[in-house]
Amino acid sequence: MSNGQDFEEKERERKIRRKVFYTILGTLAVVFGGFLVWKLRILILPIIVGGLLAFLFRPVKDRFRVRWLPHELQVLCSFALIGLVLFFAFNTLRKHIPDEQQKLEFKVRLQYKLNARYRQLVAKSPEGKSNAVTPLIEKEIGPLMDKVNQALELNPEESNLFLKYAAGYNGKPPIQSKFVDYFRANQNTREYVIPEKTPPNSPSLATPAAAAPAQSSASVEGTNLESKISAWILTPLIFLFLGFDNGQIRRFFISLVPNRYFELSLTVLDELDDAIGRYLRGTLLECFLVGLTLTLGLVLLGIPLGIAVAIGVVSGLLNAIPFLGTVIALVIGVGYALIAENVTPLIPGLNPNDLALYVLILVVIVHVLDDVVFQPFVLGSAANVHPLVVVIAIISGSLIMGLWGMLFAIPTVVVVKTAVATFFKELKDYRII
């Protein structure tokens, strides 16, 4: 056998060995990686959020360049700047988050106003005649109103607290007497539908037996909460360390790629980075525009600036969840409109008693504006996902991770879609497939 053939034979054996080695290593990595992901699943969300934040704020970090300052200090300065802006934003928002007294007051006002509206709706005419629709409304909405009353009714502890606040408690000014009247009126509210009597041997009475497990489940919940909180400490750390990264992570992963795919992987990574960055930053801008439009609209309707900003911020953030974001904005907006009093709309000719209707119209207008102007303008074709896929993704997200799952469902779908499309396009361009 000649030297050349011998060399070729050895090379062939080496290739087989390499394949076997990589297959075993790959399988072990997948199994071990899967095991780790399962065991450390509590860390996934904080890591994703930290990574996303670092990704979102990377342009800020890149823009903040001072030649004579070391990279680490530049990053720290840019993060300090972002932190300061966020701190002031949250601080302003926090002022409008209702405290204990305001929460009780809101509950009382909402219950009173809802009941007043309902009674108005089913009221008989002065001649004592009711129209044909009234019995239907009573039959259909009556049970719903009972449930709403049950949900909004203050429990004995809350009632005591409300009465304390009504007289002036904890250094706070006393609650307006009008709202105390609402509270008394709420207490006198009777059920609209007479419930059927439950049998005396009802299983719901067996509460003492259930008390012990409830206690133990509470302690388990406490431990879970602690571990969840400690997991969230990772988020700022991930955010900070990814911010310090000056391309080292990318270089490391590229160094693992075989030479044949070197240029391909650079191009794919770059296009993915660009597409996902455009989508996420576009979504953020879209949420901001929605929040701003809603805030402006609410101010024009006469809602106080602070409350309008708070509703705008919450609705803008939740707008990242398609469909549901609008519904939540509607619930919050109309909820406030129902309890709002002494409102004077800045637009002449509007009747303050129909504020809830105006808020409903405003939310619809904002939703249409979002669909017709903001989304095409800000996102372009980056978010072209079929509505059916959107619905399935949101439901799946909520089943897997609750509210966070809903929030991340569409970005995940867009990321996967972009990754697959880019990968296949580049594989074809590089004549690999």
Partner: protein, 180 residues
């Protein structure tokens, strides 16, 4: 170069020399200084460029890129030999054999038009790759450095255009003489 910049460069160079006397980073910067493509850059600028370059190792006969693939990076040979060839159905035309310090695939720094030839390592080769979008990124972070690289690239393409024009003129002159 301003006195301030000169002093900063000197400081950086001394620091590198003192702390990393035989580090791959210093070797790489020293190597880049010898490449005509980067001869207008200061040491500090060379360090910036070196930071965004990827080092790759190729075995004998291993392909670096193929004709028709979209170009994404410029390659600079650290050591080894690279053949630039065009494969046709029946023949292979070798356009050049490049050695340490030479670069190829520079058109990829401008756009992703397909590669016009194949590049293949003739012996174990180490090369530095400069990715187009990383150079684009330099435009924002270090505009002067990026500008000087683009200037080198433009002047090199200008040189090539001039030699191509001369070749064409020579060919036209030859054809005219043949006809006459």
């Amino acid at each position: 170069m301003s006195a301030r910049k000169f002093a900063a460069d000197k400081l950086l160079w001394e620091k590198l020399g003192r702390w990393k006397r035989s580090s791959p980073e210093l070797d790489r910067i020293q190597f880049l200084k010898t490449v005509p493509f980067f001869d207008r850059l200061s040491n500090r600028q060379l360090k910036t460029v070196s930071d965004i370059m990827f080092e790759r190792s190729y075995d004998t006969d291993e392909s670096i890129f193929e004709e028709g693939q979209p170009g994404a990076a410029l390659f600079l040979i650290l050591n080894g030999k690279v053949a630039v060839e065009i494969y046709r159905e029946t023949s292979t035309t070798r356009l050049a054999v490049l050695e340490s310090g030479a670069f190829f695939g520079e058109m990829a720094l401008l756009d992703d038009t397909p590669r016009s030839a194949n590049a293949r390592a003739l012996e174990p080769t180490r090369a530095l790759a400069l990715y187009r979008n990383d150079l684009n990124g330099l435009r924002h972070r270090h505009p002067r450095t990026a500008c000087q690289i683009y200037r080198s690239l433009a002047s090199m393409i200008g040189d090539r255009l001039r030699s191509t024009n001369e070749l064409v003129q020579m060919k036209i002159a030859g054809d005219t003489a043949g006809l006459g």
